[in-house]
């Protein structure tokens, strides 16, 4: 405690200089935490979006994602209702959604366009939350075989085919037997995914309608959704265990193995923030080295006096390291407080970021406050400061005592 008190008093010897060093540390910590917090927010948002899109775990027949089908639903899951019932029996599972993935031609009678279709249960939209921007109309109603089947179109596909709400659209696809089949659908809604390339091709129809179009009772994928995504890992192990294997054997793919965009962004941000962190670390190192070098030079005679009394170089170094740690601690606390204020402020102020490349919609600017990140940054800054002070002090404590004592 006494060493820390003395370190604090030494820090106060030249207040303006120490204030400058502490400010630099605080700014660096603030910048690192803000950048890191923004990264964490982005990662979590993308992770949630990826998991929402594909489900926390996708259940398929083995090799479904690795190989192309010769005809629709060739590798589909038969008896999906039994599987769904079995999966829903796990208490961690919030919902299970079967899905049929298919493609074909959409035609308005005059013009045709290639589409990528998804046959889903209408309640999937509610269960997944607001992941689509409804441009016009509404999402799918519950399936009624006596009524005209509905289709929801991506906005660019709708524009391409000049579709309005209530218009009729013919979907042409290949059945699971290889024959051509066509159904007429009425447009119930036009949506935007935020990704222009998807909006040009995407459409949603009811699962039963998709199965009728493809003339199969199979489904492509069964998506599992959990209450807590922390349960994904353990559940994956449980489901993949040989004793739990279904007949025929199924493949369980977690969301992160299919989150290509998430991985790409994360890798990019990690590199950007890594370089930024290194630059900040260098700035802090140079600032502390400069401050401590001046301090050591000014205190050369004092260093000589203490050495004359038998203080070892290591003990003297320790004193300077404590000083640097005091400054690091103050700077880190200030930086963390500023980051917390920014994080809270952004929750209140609705600041929108411009759309990322390949997207049409912006997103709210938020910076997560992460205590773990704050701890890591604090420890890293403390180590950098300690290193800078030790190197700066080394020159002083190595000076011959007789020279140090007459230093002016």
């Amino acid at each position: 405690m006494r060493r820390l008190t003395q370190a604090w008093l030494n820090v106060q010897r030249n207040r303006r200089r120490s204030l400058m060093s502490v400010s630099i540390i605080a700014i660096a910590v603030f910048a690192l935490l803000s950048a890191g917090g923004f990264g964490l927010y982005t990662y979590q948002s993308l992770a949630e979006a990826s998991a929402r899109e594909s489900g926390h775990i996708s259940v398929t027949m083995p090799g479904y994602f690795d190989s192309e089908e010769d005809y629709p639903l060739q590798n589909g899951i038969a008896d999906s209702n039994v599987l769904i019932k079995s999966l829903l029996s796990h208490q961690q599972v919030k919902a299970v959604q079967p899905r049929v993935e298919f493609s074909g031609l959409a035609s308005n009678g005059e013009k045709s366009a290639i589409f990528i279709g998804q046959g889903v249960q209408p309640n999937e939209f509610r269960q997944k939350g607001p992941f689509l921007d409804i441009v016009e109309g509404k999402l799918l109603d519950s399936y009624n075989p006596d009524e005209a089947p509905q289709v929801v179109l991506g906005k660019d596909l709708a524009r391409n085919l000049k579709m309005q709400i209530g218009d009729w659209l013919t979907l042409l696809s290949t059945t699971s037997e290889g024959a051509l089949n066509a159904y007429d659908f009425v447009v119930s809604g036009i949506v935007s995914t935020g990704v222009p390339e998807m909006d040009k091709r995407l459409l949603y129809i009811d699962l039963n309608a998709a199965q009728a179009l493809l003339d199969s009772q199979r489904v492509s994928v069964v998506s599992m959704y959990f209450y807590d995504y922390q349960d994904v890992g353990p559940m994956l192990q449980t489901l993949s265990a040989p004793s739990a294997q279904q007949t025929p054997s199924l493949e369980f793919t977690p969301w992160w193995e299919r989150a290509v965009f998430y991985d790409a962004v994360r890798n990019l941000y990690n590199r950007i923030f890594g370089v930024m962190g290194a630059v900040m670390a260098l700035v802090v190192f140079v600032a502390l080295f400069n401050t401590l070098s001046m301090s050591v030079t000014e205190r050369t005679r004092e260093i000589g006096t203490l050495a004359a009394m038998g203080t070892s170089p290591a003990e003297q170094l320790r004193g300077f390291v404590y000083e640097a740690l005091v400054m690091a601690l103050i700077g880190c606390v200030l930086g963390i407080i500023a980051n917390g204020a920014l994080s809270a402020g952004l929750l209140v102020a609705d600041i929108q970021m411009p759309p990322p490349p390949g997207r049409t919609d912006g997103y709210p600017l938020q910076v997560y406050f992460s205590p773990i990140l704050a701890l890591w940054v604090t420890v890293s800054i403390a180590v950098i400061c300690a290193g800078a002070s030790a190197i700066a002090a080394l020159k002083g404590v190595r000076k011959p005592i007789t020279e140090a004592l007459i230093y002016v």
């Binding site: 004359a308 009394m309 203080t311 005592i401």
Partner: protein
């Protein structure tokens, strides 16, 4: 107690080598107050540094309590436990209080807290500074600072105290008080003191005067020093 044998010391100034001490030998016995006198450049500071084990770059032998001092680690250990220092400019640590300055050598030697406190209070009382124990050096006069420096030098009951012009920065009355105090403490604790000085007030209190000129001891006797 301290023995120097055939000490030769030279400094290199660029291409030139300047001999500072020529074959100096001397001995300091227990509880002796030795004055080291001589004009500027006579080598007394160089000799004082060697006596205080602050400089190991010389030819010759130094013995402390019969033990030859051969390396910096040994010198550091002896300085820490057996020697005290008083400097012309006091050299107190500005961020420490008077009490803490005096306490510092005891801390270095890992003396337990109760004994430390007792010993520091004794010394502060002996130098008449107990009431100023909590003050930092910048709130003390030169004379008061030198008393604290003296207490710091004596707090471990060292065998040898090295004092470099301890009265040079003091007025005559304060200088007289400090010199008397040094002598009193030296006799109380059986501590030897080697003091480099130009000051007659100081040298008049010495038991023995060593006079130096041009790096050589020219006289070594009980006599008044005229710098």
């Amino acid at each position: 107690m301290l023995q120097l044998s055939n000490i030769n010391k030279s400094y290199r100034l660029g291409q030139l080598e300047q001999q500072a001490l020529f074959d100096v030998s001397l001995q300091v016995v227990e509880a002796e107050l030795v004055g080291l006198c001589g004009p500027s450049g006579s080598g007394k500071s160089t000799l004082l540094n060697i006596c205080g084990l602050l400089d190991q770059q010389f030819d010759g032998q130094v013995y402390f309590s019969g033990e030859q001092v051969t390396g910096p680690q040994q010198a550091m250990r002896l300085r820490r436990s057996q020697l005290g220092f008083v400097f012309q400019r006091f050299n107190l640590v500005p961020v420490m209080s008077a009490f803490e300055n005096v306490e510092y050598p005891l801390q270095l030697n890992r003396i337990a807290t109760p004994q430390r406190k007792q010993r520091v209070n004794e010394l502060l009382e002996a130098v008449g500074m107990l009431e100023h124990a909590g003050k930092r050096p910048d709130r003390l006069s030169g004379g008061q600072q030198q008393r604290i420096a003296l207490a710091r030098a004596m707090v471990l009951k060292p065998r040898l105290v090295i004092a470099d012009e301890p009265t040079a920065s003091l007025d005559s009355q304060t200088a007289h008080q400090v010199v008397s105090l040094m002598k009193q403490l030296s006799h109380q604790h059986g501590t030897s003191i080697v003091v480099a000085t130009h000051d007659d007030r100081m040298s008049s209190h010495c038991d023995r005067i060593i006079r130096m000129e041009d790096g050589r001891v020219v006289s070594d006797k009980e006599a008044l020093c005229v710098a």
